[in-house]
């Protein structure tokens, strides 16, 4: 039987991590573990030891930001195809384009409504 997907939330704000976990819990999707990291470096450490099916990442973070994390993942044969959704206040069209060109699977701009985020995650996880 197929294992339920593990998700990784990467954000330096514990408030946003809590909100994302709540939204994920409200989906009717069968999820495995939801793991948390405070920046890109922590995320890479978790990815080294766990099988993750989807990453939700902020862009602006200390130590390693979301763009650098995305670059690192896309340059790695192991994580080249790992779905990465960027969740950020950065809403300018140029920034969206940059994220897409780097290989972001999708992009959610903060502030977001729970319904909007739930629909997007449900669509991605059901693929």
């Amino acid at each position: 039987m197929k294992e339920p997907p593990n998700l990784l939330i990467v954000d330096d704000s514990t408030a946003i991590r809590k909100i994302l976990i709540r939204v994920l819990n409200q989906t009717n999707l069968a999820l495995g573990e939801v793991l948390e990291a405070g920046d890109g470096k922590e995320a890479l450490n978790i990815l080294e030891g766990r099988h993750i099916s989807l990453v939700l990442s902020d862009i602006n973070m200390p130590n390693m930001d979301g763009i650098e994390l995305l670059r690192t993942l896309r340059a790695s044969p192991q994580w080249h195809d790992l779905p990465v959704v960027l969740i950020t206040t950065e809403g300018g069209q140029a920034r969206v384009q940059e994220a897409v060109e780097l290989g972001a699977t999708s992009y959610v701009r903060k502030p977001f409504s729970a319904d909007q985020l739930r629909d997007k995650l449900a669509a991605l996880l059901s693929k």
């Binding site: 330096d12 704000s13 514990t14 408030a15 946003i16 809590k18 909100i19 709540r22 602006n60 200390p62 206040t89 950065e90 809403g91 300018g92 140029a94 903060k110 502030p111 977001f112 409504s113 909007q116």
Partner: protein, 166 residues
């Protein structure tokens, strides 16, 4: 609302509109309530206050910062709405939530401003909680103060911006 401006690509009134639009967006989508503008004092009050000051800096063609000021009670109420949990006292979670609310409001303003001045960078939020807090914006070309009210409280929003000299 109070606003002063010189030597900037946009008038302070337009920036105040953009700041309020970003505030409305956050309140409607993530706090589940409406927010409205109320009349701010004509004279900028410089008296020390008790409560929360949350600020974020900008760099780029425009430099400066955006701030949110509110009481501890309002910070707890906003955090309760944001995280859907009850907060009675200011703690790490409340400070984190207020920082993130500031990030989204000031970030929303920055996204609107970028359409006029090009790409801007934003710092991470700094949140101060205490008594007798006193803050000043020095050398700002544009100073905007908005007082916003929602069902259970008020917040003050401030911008202190200047054209970059580089």
């Amino acid at each position: 609302m109070t606003a002063e401006s010189t030597a900037m690509p946009l008038q302070a009134e337009r920036m105040a509109e953009m700041l309020f639009a970003a505030t409305q967006e956050l309140f409607t989508s993530m706090l589940g309530t409406e927010v409205r503008l109320v009349a701010a004092p004509e004279e900028e009050p410089h008296d020390p206050f008790d409560g929360i000051l949350s600020l974020i800096g900008f760099t780029g063609k425009v430099i400066g910062n955006g701030e949110i000021i509110c009481t501890a009670g309002t910070a707890c109420d906003l955090s309760s709405r944001f995280l859907m949990a009850e907060f009675q006292h200011v703690d790490e979670q409340v400070l984190d939530a207020v920082g993130e609310i500031t990030n989204m409001i000031v970030g929303g303003f920055k996204n609107r401003l970028e359409a006029h001045v090009g790409r801007l960078q934003m710092s991470i939020p700094t949140v101060v909680h205490g008594k007798n807090i006193s803050a000043r914006n020095l050398k700002a070309d544009v100073a905007v103060t908005l007082l916003c009210a929602y069902a259970d409280g008020e917040i003050q929003l401030k911008l202190g911006l200047a054209a970059s000299r580089d």
